[in-house]
């Protein structure tokens, strides 16, 4: 087709979509909002750039720093390990998520909504809890090993891969597969079936028809989900910190070590730049995939009703459900069981009760006290303090992210351009550790306000994307109807539109709160002494092998971060 033809078709499509070319232009308010978002994302990276010069002024200093970091075997090992573990994790997440995507897209069955709702898990269950759950379940003394030893009369635990590369991949794969399931499942449901059916009537068998009629529409979405999972795994911090040492380390952990343990801010800054540059490539791939995947996500063509899972589909569903129960629900159940099990000594038997919670609340019983109960006179436990620290940072961080994201989303509403979409994706290339490190370069005094700022900035891109998607989905016709019925601009906005967009704002703020409350990176890197929010408490308890109490603290953390599950408009989370 000629370029003029291309342009005409694009223009016609924009017109069909009700988006005039003028409406797609950003305008001054939109440009300001986009500029602010970019500045907030770029500020920590710029600070790292500046710091990476290690005191030598100019570009030469920067190159020297980067050269030193890139020539270091540990950096290359970390980069190599990070790329491999993120790649393998994304593949595993695909392998687990795609069958689920097929089931939710094509079949109706009890628990389908629950399966789809799992997509919120990577966002509202902090990684530290997943680490804990997998240690309890897959660890050498974990529930699964104990079951297998008892069932098959084994002397040694058969599963010992957890603290290795594959252990890390397993955790990441199971933690992130719901993203694949949700993203691909939604798109699959919307891909018109008639293309596949047309292929069948033209002589293609099932597989060929799928490859011709469905797969081309799904591929960009699969790529998009894979890139997102890859990015999350590439940036994984706590999981690698716990499982990594025997298998390897990632750049994220190396940055933390350089900054916090080796007191080498310039080295940490150089590593940050390398990591961000690598992530940027993935983000650009993600953006391109999102653009192409958008077509599949549109509801076009004839949508056939989902069929009941019968025959082979039913067998497949049962196998998948058992697989998820054993490998996915098992660790979470282990976490729950351990939290309510009061153990007598390391690895000893136990009984059900609230003792772990009580110890966290009121302090542990004195050593030697064999009363079997809790010493109520013991000093106060760490739980309330940790809960207070979590709320004191997560609430203002969520509020800040929602306000900033909300204003930006409202200003950017109805605007659409390739540059804008790319620009809004760029913050995804900045990891939690880089964000914390960069902002700590700008504000060197460690304090809670800085943690609030960093957590708000970490949540901001997700809040903005979820709000923009939610606002785009709001039907503006009632607002226009109100105007024609005599309501002024403000009155119509308050009476009609505010009610439509309020759930989206509440969801976005709950989402931001979950991200902030579950964050361990910023408190670990820039937290002031004595500052111990819930994720750090869990991390400390895991580190000292106090698993039952760690689980109890984890349950409290899950209740706090699980707030987002009560949000009305959860679909916006997957924008």
């Amino acid at each position: 087709m000629s370029r003029a033809g291309d342009r005409a078709v694009r223009k016609a499509r924009a017109s069909e979509a009700g988006v005039s070319p003028a409406a797609q232009r950003l305008g001054l308010p939109g440009s300001l909002a986009l500029g602010l978002m970019l500045v907030l994302a770029a500020a920590p990276v710029a600070a790292a750039l500046f710091r990476a010069t290690a005191g030598e002024k100019g570009f030469l200093g920067l190159l020297k720093s980067l050269g030193a970091a890139l020539s270091s075997p540990s950096t290359l090992r970390a980069l190599d390990f990070g790329l491999k573990e993120a790649g393998a994790s994304a593949l595993l997440a695909l392998a687990i998520g795609l069958p689920g995507a097929y089931l939710v897209a094509r079949h109706e069955f009890p628990g389908r909504r629950l399966l789809k709702a799992l997509a919120g898990l990577p966002f509202c269950v902090p990684p530290i809890l997943v680490v804990l759950a997998f240690v309890l379940y897959f660890g050498r003394n974990g529930y699964l090993n104990r079951f297998l030893m008892a069932a098959f009369g084994l002397a040694e635990p058969p599963l010992g891969f957890l603290y290795s590369f594959w252990g890390l991949v397993l955790v990441h794969g199971f933690y992130n597969f719901p993203i694949v399931l949700q993203t691909v499942g939604d798109a699959w449901e919307n891909v018109p079936r008639d293309r596949e059916e047309a292929a069948r009537t033209l002589g293609a068998g099932r597989l060929r028809a799928f490859a011709t009629g469905i797969l081309p529409s799904l591929l960009p979405v699969i790529l998009q989900a894979s890139a997102l999972v890859f990015l999350f795994c590439f940036f994984s911090f706590v999981v690698v910190l716990v499982f990594g040492p025997l298998g390897g380390s990632t750049l994220e952990v190396e940055i933390f070590r350089a900054a916090r343990m080796s007191a080498d801010p310039a080295g940490a800054a150089a590593l940050s730049l390398i990591e961000t540059a690598a992530a940027l490539l993935v983000v650009l791939l993600l953006t391109a995939a999102e653009r192409r995947g958008g077509e599949a996500a549109k509801k076009t063509g004839t949508r056939q009703p989902r069929s009941k899972a019968v025959g082979p589909a039913f067998v497949f569903l049962v196998v998948y459900a058992v697989f998820l129960l054993v490998f996915f629900a098992g660790p979470l159940a282990a976490l729950l069981a351990e939290a309510f099990t009061e153990r007598r000594g390391m690895g000893g038997g136990g009984r059900l009760g609230f003792g772990n919670f009580a110890r966290l609340l009121f302090g542990g019983p004195q050593r030697g006290a064999e009363t079997g109960g809790v010493n109520w006179m013991a000093p106060q436990g760490p739980l309330l303090g940790a809960l207070g620290d979590s709320l004191a940072t997560a609430l203002p961080a969520a509020a800040l992210a929602t306000v900033l994201g909300g204003v930006a989303a409202l200003l950017l509403r109805g605007k659409r351009s390739r540059a804008m979409e790319t620009a809004l994706s760029l913050p995804l290339a900045v990891s939690g550790i880089v964000l914390a490190l960069g902002w700590s370069f700008l504000f060197p005094r460690a304090n809670r306000l800085l943690v609030v700022l960093v957590e708000a900035m970490a949540a901001l891109p997700f809040v903005l994307r979820s709000l923009m998607a939610a606002l785009a989905a709001v039907d503006r016709t009632p607002l226009l109807a109100a105007r024609t019925l005599g309501a002024g601009r403000l009155r119509a906005a308050l009476d009609i539109e505010a009610r439509s967009i309020l759930p989206a704002f509440l969801t976005a703020s709950a989402f931001a709160f979950s991200i902030a409350a579950g964050d361990a990176s910023a408190p670990l890197l820039i937290g002031a002494p004595g500052f111990e929010p819930l994720p750090l408490l869990v991390y400390r308890l895991v580190g000292s092998y106090r698993f039952p109490e760690a689980c109890a603290a984890g349950i409290v953390l899950a209740l706090v971060t699980g707030l987002v599950f009560f949000a009305k408009d959860k679909d916006a989370l997957h924008a």
Partner: protein, 391 residues
Amino acid sequence: MLEIRGLRFSRPGFSLDLDLELPEGAYGVLLGASGCGKSTALRLVAGLLEPEGGSVRLAGRELLGLAPERRRVGMVFQDYALFPQLSVRRNIEYGPRLRGAASEERRKLSQELGKAFRIEGLLERRPASLSGGEQQRVALARSVAARPELLLLDEPLSSLDAALRRALRGEIRERIRDAGLSALHVTHDLEEALAIADRLFIMDGGRVVEAGDPEAIYARPGSAFAARFLGRGPLIPVTRIIESGPRPLVLTPFGKLRASRGLPTDPAASETESCTSGASGTELPKGSLAEGRPANGSPTGGQCYLHFGAGEARALPGSSAASIAADADGVYNELSGVAGESYFLGTTRRVSLRPPAGGEPIELELGPEIRPSRGEALVLVLPIDSCILLR
């Protein structure tokens, strides 16, 4: 020949039970309202849905149990279902490629079909860059290229504007006829159906309620549903049969009217109360048409109507209509009523006529020169030959 016998399919709130015959090379049209099961019928024939029972035979070959790709039944979808990642040429060559046609043969075929369907200039373009009409032609060419024995078309014109629809419907029929194919075309557009069908099947509630030559069906619908769906004219409820026989006289809210024939013959009718079998003076049960909806075209039970074409009645000035009707006994009915709203429609005027004693009005099309005022008593002449009894 396509023979469909007792093809059954059901899902909550809907059931389909289909019988249909389409001669080889004929262009059949399934006409019905949305949700009556037209598209489901096509999908069952194509093998895209699994029926609960019945038989579908094409040229003597049983299709049920065969996978869609083995049926040699092509389908043109409502949204065309072109493969967006393939060029127009590769879309057309998709079927031939699957049956193992050599590259040269495929190219020749796509060139020929491109020419036949007037899309030869579009062969290297992607479907997304085509207009609706162009996409429609590509979808047809692609289906024809796969050499099916039967082509199914699921509302292929519904996405197009009215002018293009009118232009393309003739072209579709012509191309399909040129290709020597039988076709079953689904539409809810009456004009489209009448314009292109060799054989018309009117569907209601998952069943074919009337089948045959479109002109014959239009001239003499076999059921009140078909008459209503075809929009031919009024259905006046019959309250009593005064005389039965080949020219029954019935009592209606508009007075005594004579019909040119009784109810269409139906074996089941003899077992149930019917207008024709009832003795003189039989009171007919009141009931809606829906209650007595016929199965498989069998008008059994339910409300009986006197039906005629909307434009058959004539209004004459003064009292001449009454005198004509009275003088020409056996030729005309006299239809008396009270005029309601009237609308000028260009060549005709649509007039609402209420029974003299009150009741549901009927709508008639009279000459544009007749301008009855609201509430004016009208006496019309209605040829008895145009009046039939229907259920």
